[in-house]
């Protein structure tokens, strides 16, 4: 049987599935229901010093695909809007009632050593197993010099991390904002500040849509809107890349990674773990479907591990990193040609028009005996880009076959056409 329990930055968790700091972890009853549903941990909704913030109404906007499914949501919510003490009493109670589950305290304070330290100590005293420093919130809080306003300045990331590490004897995760040019820079800063781990990503700054009747960005608050934080499946590719970048950086080697961003299924979780994550955090998927989604995450991941003969999370954690390289390390002699299985083709013509208009004019239309059309690839034109395979509505109908060209691997630094090549 695959073993899902794991250890990250010295914290034991019954499984790698945590809820991210957000509305699902806002108060006792939510987290209680999450633990009942099977979540291994919860990063409490970010706490600040009293008096609590005031939230706006409405708060969420969504981005849909053409089937009306939600691919991403954005929010303009701030940190916890309830008194600190109320939150801390609830954390204490849950820690007592659910000793095998993880609660991480998330916090945010103005740039002031004492403010960070005092808040960290208060939360630590409530019995949390670790702290997460919210340097991510890209709306509202940053206008007050907090959240992403801190996360975007490496010196401040380092400083606040150090302050908190000095104040408490607990594992500390610094939560990173993706709204910067190179994620490795703040990750290294957190590392220098003494962080035990990083949590990433927080939300991506966004305007999710514009209401063309009222001419206001959504969500609309009394006729006006503002930019907000984007999350959900749409941000997963951004998060995967950032997690991989931190995991591959030699300077941050050894930093624990709690991955966040668009995780909705066991497969998403497995991908982040394969890129080095020790736990994963979920917000949007839980907000859209409820805590029950963890059921499938748990047994889906276990089944995957059984199938692949991984006994523990550690057995495959970071396994995809060795194959995650720079472009300059790719073999340019590798060649693929698209092949269309005629017996599976439904004659929609999507591959043809995609290749014809926007790729390499490699797919020919022919007449089929007895009516209908055939689509075939002209190997001389095909550059193996995959576009046709992706647009094809029939799974497996277009296959990308490697060409046995007998050529040795060659990367760009060694490529004959590179005038600056190194031999």
């Amino acid at each position: 049987m695959a073993e899902l329990s794991c250890r990250i930055a010295g914290i034991d968790s019954v499984n790698p599935f945590w809820l991210a700091s957000a509305p699902p972890t806002d108060k006792y009853v939510n987290v209680l229901r999450a633990f009942q549903a099977g979540w291994g941990g919860a990063v409490w909704k970010t706490l600040g010093n009293d008096p609590p913030v005031v939230n706006a109404t409405s708060r969420y906007g969504v981005h849909r695909d053409q089937t009306r499914a939600i691919v991403g949501i954005n929010n303009i919510e701030l940190i916890s809007d309830r008194p600190l003490d109320v939150n801390l009493r609830e954390i204490e109670r849950l820690r007592r009632e659910w000793p095998d589950r993880v609660i991480i305290g998330s916090l945010m304070a103005p740039i002031d050593e004492q403010a960070w330290k005092e808040l960290a100590v208060k939360i630590a005293n409530a019995g949390v197993q670790g702290l997460e420093l919210n340097h991510g919130c890209p709306h509202g809080m940053c206008e007050r010099g907090m959240g992403s306003a801190v996360g975007q300045v490496p010196e401040m990331v380092e400083k606040t991390t150090r302050w908190v590490k000095e104040a408490v004897n607990l594992p500390v995760f610094t939560k990173l904002t993706p709204n910067i040019t190179d994620i490795v820079v703040p990750a290294e800063a957190a590392c220098r500040g003494g962080a035990d781990g990083v949590a990433l990503i927080n939300t991506v700054n966004s305007i999710v849509s514009v209401d063309l009747d009222s001419m206001s960005p959504r969500p609309i608050v009394d006729g006006k809107g503002t930019h907000g934080g984007y999350c959900g499946t749409a941000v997963k590719p951004i998060a995967l890349n950032m997690v991989a970048a931190v995991a591959r950086d030699p300077e941050t080697a050894g930093l624990a990674i709690s991955a966040i961003g668009g995780i909705a299924t066991w497969r998403d979780a497995a991908e982040f773990i394969a890129l080095g994550a020790g736990t994963v955090q979920v917000c949007t998927a839980a907000m859209l479907y409820g805590f029950r989604i963890v059921d499938d995450m748990i047994d889906g991941l276990a089944n995957f591990m059984e199938r692949s003969r991984y006994r523990t999370i550690e057995d495959f954690r970071g396994r995809a990193l060795k194959n995650t390289v720079d472009w300059n390390d790719l073999n340019l002699n590798f060649d693929l040609k698209a092949f269309i299985h005629q017996d599976m083709c439904i004659e929609c013509g999507r591959c043809h028009i995609a290749c014809e208009d926007t790729a390499h004019q490699a797919i020919r239309i022919g007449a089929k005996a007895g009516g209908g059309r055939t689509f075939t690839v002209d190997n001389r034109q095909c550059v193996g880009c995959n576009l046709c395979m992706h647009v094809c509505p029939v799974d497996g109908c277009i296959e990308m076959n490697p060409v046995a060209n007998g050529l040795p691997p060659v990367s760009w630094p060694h490529h004959p056409k590179n005038t600056l090549r190194v031999d």
Binding site: Q66, E347, C348, G349
Partner: protein, 445 residues
């Protein structure tokens, strides 16, 4: 297949039940349903469905526009190819046209409901009102005459008006629409859609309709040719076939088409008299429609008798299923030999039939059915009386590839020519293309 109708088990249907029976066979899509259905379309390139549509509507294009919320653009895309896209969305046998060609069939799925989506977009535009979506070209100074205000004639008139000509349509009936108004099954054309569509179509301007004007009765082709620069004949098939068996003259034996017309024109369908035991003779659209509508009016038993096998029927499989789900009994391989009764029909007798050497012949045995109503649906035919010296071929008006009849300046289309299947959509295509041909003709003259 829609809601199951109320049927009679000896008791009479109430007026409300009959009214429900004649509501939309398929209720229109809600916006949510339309969104889901539109998103199923794969947006094929050079799509097979377009080729299967006699009017070549850009189907992926109009469905994509529904998906993006561009309903006016969607309707305009449809109507630019088929000005009766509304009726076609309701009445086309899509199961043998666009939807049969949908590539989703090949993926083992239900085809996209193209007809329902088409109806959705067009009815949105018509209901919205406002300006007609097409503009007329500068006046050409030419006058065109049209015989028949059916789908062929109106399609011709609309396109000719759009091209800048002044059009006068003559129809013997008091209302326009042809079989859209008098022939299609009532539950396909609910809410007086035929007239709403005519009104919409005339919104282009430049079209005058003269009702009660019949070619052959005070209106002559020769005369029209003198008064107009070109003439289009879209008179449909105005005559019906007779069975030629004893007892055909008994009361209660009537043309299915007349009966359907009576139903279509009745404000209150429960006022239409229907038999208790109805027999419908025929194997096409009209036979199915007559049978199903009889049942929905409250006939206790309806038997559809066809001389050959079910697969020989020109009614599509979908229509035959519709008959079955409406409790119509199908009897194949049977030909009527006589009707008997005292003034009114009481008994219909049929002989068994079979195919031998490619020909239908009588087989041993006869059977009789009680019947107080017999509906003949054995086909319509051209009424050549008024057509003067137009050349005919196989009982239809002969035209060349440009819809020119044998008489210069006279064009024809729709059911009265043999362009394709006798369907609304084909009539619309004929009218549209004939209008372009006539446009070239009058401009060169």
């Amino acid at each position: 297949m829609g809601m199951r109708p109320h049927t009679s088990n000896g008791t009479q249907l109430t007026r409300d039940q009959i009214e429900e029976n004649f509501a939309d066979l398929h209720p229109p899509l809600t916006p949510a349903q339309a969104g889901v259905e539109a998103s199923r379309c794969l947006y094929c390139y050079d799509a097979p469905c377009v080729k299967a549509c006699p009017t070549s509507i850009d189907i992926p294009g109009f469905i994509h526009r529904i998906r993006t919320g561009n309903l006016e653009g969607s309707a305009r895309t449809i109507l630019s190819a088929n000005i009766m896209g509304g009726t076609c969305g309701r009445a086309c046998p899509t199961e043998v046209l666009c939807e049969e060609a949908c590539v989703l069939n090949a993926r083992g799925e239900e085809p996209v409901r193209i007809g329902a989506l088409q109806r959705y977009a067009v009815e949105h535009l018509i209901a919205k009102g406002g300006d007609h979506p097409f503009k007329r070209a500068a006046p050409s100074g030419k006058k065109l005459a049209v015989i028949g205000a059916g789908p062929a004639g109106l399609s011709f008139a609309h396109r000719a008006a759009m091209l800048g000509h002044a059009v006068t349509v003559f129809d013997k009936k008091p209302k326009a629409g042809g079989l859209n108004e008098y022939g299609l099954a009532a539950y396909k054309m609910a809410n007086d859609f035929a007239q709403a569509e005519v009104k919409f179509l005339l919104g282009i301007g430049g079209i005058a309709i003269e009702y009660g004007k019949e070619l052959g009765h005070g209106l002559a082709l020769d005369d029209l040719k003198k008064r107009f620069d070109a003439v289009f004949v879209g008179a449909g098939l105005a005559a019906t076939n007779a069975l030629g068996v004893p007892g055909e003259e008994l009361s209660g034996v009537r043309d299915a088409l007349d009966f359907i017309e009576e139903i279509r024109q009745a404000r209150d369908k429960s006022a239409v008299r229907v038999g208790k035991n109805v027999i419908v003779i025929g194997g096409g659209n009209t036979a199915i429609d007559a049978a199903v509508q009889s049942k929905r009016l409250g006939a206790e038993s309806v038997t559809l008798v066809y001389r050959r096998g079910e697969n020989d029927m020109s009614a599509t499989g979908w229509e035959r299923d519709l008959a079955r789900t409406n409790d119509v009994v199908l009897r194949q391989w049977s030909v009527p030999v006589k009707f008997e009764g005292n003034g009114a029909v009481e008994i219909a007798t049929f002989a068994r039939a079979r195919m031998k050497g490619g020909k239908l012949e009588a087989a041993a045995g006869t059977f009789s059915l009680a019947a107080d109503m017999v509906l003949k649906a054995i086909g319509q035919k051209l009424d050549p009386g008024a057509l003067e010296n137009l050349r005919l071929e196989k009982n239809k008006v002969w035209v060349d590839a440009d819809y020119r009849t044998s008489v210069a300046g006279v064009y024809a289309g729709g059911d009265c020519i043999s362009s394709g299947e006798d369907l609304t959509v084909q009539a619309v295509e004929d009218g549209k293309r004939a209008a372009h041909a006539a446009d070239a003709y009058v401009r060169s003259a």
